[in-house]
């Protein structure tokens, strides 16, 4: 039996605290009182069947959805009501399930979309001249650091493979996040080899002390990188444990609803 504490063992104060998060869409209770913590540098996996509320939960954290009730606290700051841009400004970056890349733009343009390096600063943002060189250099640096190799930094991301695109999306999140990176099914569209590269990125984030929330349907991947797994079902958190081989069956049981709520 592992510790029952819901905070991470790696840090006394969690970087993220979600309390009693509730959200409905019409008659659907997408979230029905979910609470959990994420520690600094901790990788937390969110598991659950389709429609369990995983994406809704992370969208509530990232400011895309506004919770009906409950609170989200990041590093002591209440961000429950903050919009998507404000949450990002607090150091939380999200890679959404639907990727949210600009297919027609190159990696550097994708990295800096909405926060282009440009000047002079006395002009309104839209009328500033972009600093192309600086943006490309910073992009190259970061991709190097993350050991992501792309064939052509000038090509639009539409011409890249699923793994390369995902690497760009994850790298962008990494570049601008200081506290928390949220990844919603980052390997869903990828083959084995490309999935492995994305998981490598997750490990490197952890090494840098950045917390990660990872949504995945692949138990193998969760066991490979996550410190803790939280299972959602019908908008409720139904169980929480370390994703080890020993706990594998229990996790699956929670996901499919064959067991009651427990924290192990």
């Amino acid at each position: 039996m592992t510790a029952t504490s819901s905070t991470s063992p790696t840090s006394p104060t969690p970087v993220l605290q979600v309390r009693d998060a509730a959200k409905r869409f019409g008659a659907v209770r997408a979230l029905d009182g979910v609470s959990f913590d994420v520690g600094r540098g901790e990788v937390v996996a969110l598991l659950g069947d389709n429609g369990a509320g995983k994406s809704t939960l992370i969208k509530a954290i990232s400011g895309v959805h506004r919770l009906d009730a409950g609170s989200v606290v990041l590093d002591g700051v209440d961000i429950t009501a903050a919009g998507a841009m404000a949450v990002r400004a607090h150091g939380v970056e999200t890679v959404y399930q639907d990727l949210a890349l600009f297919d027609n733009l190159d990696p550097a343009a994708n990295f800096f979309a909405g926060r282009e390096l440009a000047g002079p600063s006395r002009l309104p943002r839209a009328l500033r001249l972009m600093r192309h060189r600086q943006m490309t250099d910073r992009t190259r640096e970061l991709l190097d650091r993350l050991q992501v190799s792309l064939p052509d930094l000038d090509a639009p991301v539409a011409l890249m493979s699923g793994g390369q695109r995902q690497a760009v999306a994850v790298a962008r999140a990494v570049a601008f996040s200081s506290k928390l990176v949220i990844l919603d099914e980052p390997t869903a569209a990828l083959g084995l080899r490309e999935s492995a590269r994305v998981l490598d990125l997750v490990r490197r984030l952890k090494d840098d002390g950045v917390a990660v929330i990872l949504i995945s349907h692949s138990m193998d991947q969760v066991m490979a990188v996550a410190d803790r797994a939280i299972v959602l079902r019908r908008g409720r958190s139904v169980g929480e444990t370390a994703p080890t081989a020993d706990n594998h069956e229990r996790l699956v049981a929670w996901i499919v609803g064959a067991a009651g709520h427990q924290t192990i």
Binding site: V64, A84, M85, R88, Y96, D98, A100, L101, F102, D103, N104, L105, A109, A113, G114, R115, E116, A118, R125, A126, L127, R128, L129, M130, S149, P151, A158, L159, M160, S161, G162, G163, Q164, G191, R193, E194
Partner: protein
């Protein structure tokens, strides 16, 4: 451990035999080449057209004819550049022709009553911009489902207003400066007296194009225009002010319709309430032939100009050959289909290229 797995990258060493996965590498090179050719599609179409016409017509390459083509293409070019911005954001502006007519009428009326070049020019440009602004605001603030609707409404409304203001008659006269720019020719034809061949209107086209290249490639605004077209939802999530970007794009398109109105006024020394009738079709066709995609995010200034020239050259060529003008419309239709078909093929090749990347990636 016996066999080495395909190692990092297609470490294609200079010279020497093909490296690791030779089939993939060769296919990759083939695809890259094919894609490069297809991306040059609009230029290739124009080149082919020019070559053909040069062969079958003696006068095609004469300075006078080149001057005529340039002059006739000026209005299409300016309208196409405005339309390009709109199409890049997944939109369409059906009102540019009517906007041109209205702006020309307003400009000519102001000239008639005030005899002030500055006021007349400003009035034409302001009218064009205002019409574009209304289009953008109706689309964005009015939450209309597609820009087709506000700009279609504007097509009829602006046209009606132009006819009303002008009492359905051409308003004669335009500021001399406007005439000079719209109809003027410089650079005398050798042995042809002092009549020039090179239209001054072309300078306007070059200036507008240069400004737009700067704006689309250099300014943050331009990046936002392409971002909004590429993925509107992601643009919102990334904090790009999507509504303002959209409104600005329609306003600029309207402003350029005003510029085109001045060129038209200059050529005719008048403002006609039907001067721009159907011009929106040329503009849209030019943008499509130029490889812009209605799916958004794709299209360049130079390719839109190329598309405009394809239309102008084709029209000129059919005239030179004495072919029934009605064929011109059919020919334009054919070129549009060919251009879009090339675009479809390019899309297929790109997805092949993508899967190849996944296979051969390290």
């Amino acid at each position: 451990m016996a066999r080495q797995a395909p190692q990092p990258a297609l470490a294609v060493a200079a010279g020497s035999a093909p490296e690791e996965p030779p089939r993939a590498a060769a296919a990759g090179r083939g695809l890259t080449l094919a894609l490069a050719v297809l991306r040059a599609g609009p230029v290739a179409i124009l080149g082919l057209l020019v070559l053909l016409l040069g062969l079958v017509s003696d006068v095609f390459w004469s300075l006078e004819n080149i001057g005529n083509v340039l002059n006739q293409s000026a209005v299409i070019c300016v309208l196409a550049l405005g339309q390009l911005l709109v199409v890049v954001t997944r939109g369409i502006d059906l009102s540019v022709g009517s906007n041109l007519s209205l702006s020309a009428v307003v400009g000519a009326l102001v000239w008639q009553h005030q005899s002030s070049t500055v006021l007349a020019v400003a009035a034409a440009l302001a009218t064009g911009t205002a019409v574009g602004l209304v289009n953008g605001l109706l689309f964005v603030k009015g939450r209309l489902p597609h820009p087709f609707i506000p700009t279609l409404a504007m097509l009829t409304a602006a046209s009606g207003l132009a006819l009303y203001l002008s009492h359905s008659e051409t308003i004669q006269g335009a500021p001399p400066l406007v005439d000079e720019v719209g109809a003027g020719r410089i650079a005398a034809v050798p042995g042809g007296g002092d009549i020039g061949w090179f239209p001054t209107a072309t300078f306007v086209v070059v200036a507008v194009a240069a400004l737009l290249v700067l704006a689309t490639r250099g300014l943050v605004w331009g990046r936002w225009v392409y971002a909004v077209g590429g993925n509107p939802e992601a643009a919102v999530r990334n904090g790009i002010p999507v509504p303002s970007v959209l409104v600005s794009v329609y306003a600029v398109c309207g402003l350029l319709a005003g510029v085109a109105a001045l060129l038209t006024m200059g050529r005719a020394d008048a403002g006609s309430p039907t001067a721009g009738a159907l011009a929106e079709l040329d503009a849209i066709a030019a943008v499509i032939i130029g490889g812009a995609s209605f799916l958004g995010g794709r299209g360049t200034v130079l390719n839109a100009l190329t598309g405009a020239f394809v239309i102008a050259v084709m029209r000129n060529g059919l005239n030179l050959l004495g072919i029934d003008p009605n064929w011109q419309y059919m020919a334009t239709g054919v070129v549009i289909v060919v251009a879009v078909e090339l675009d479809v093929v390019r899309g297929h090749l790109e997805s092949r290229f993508r899967s190849l990347q996944a296979v051969s990636a390290p």
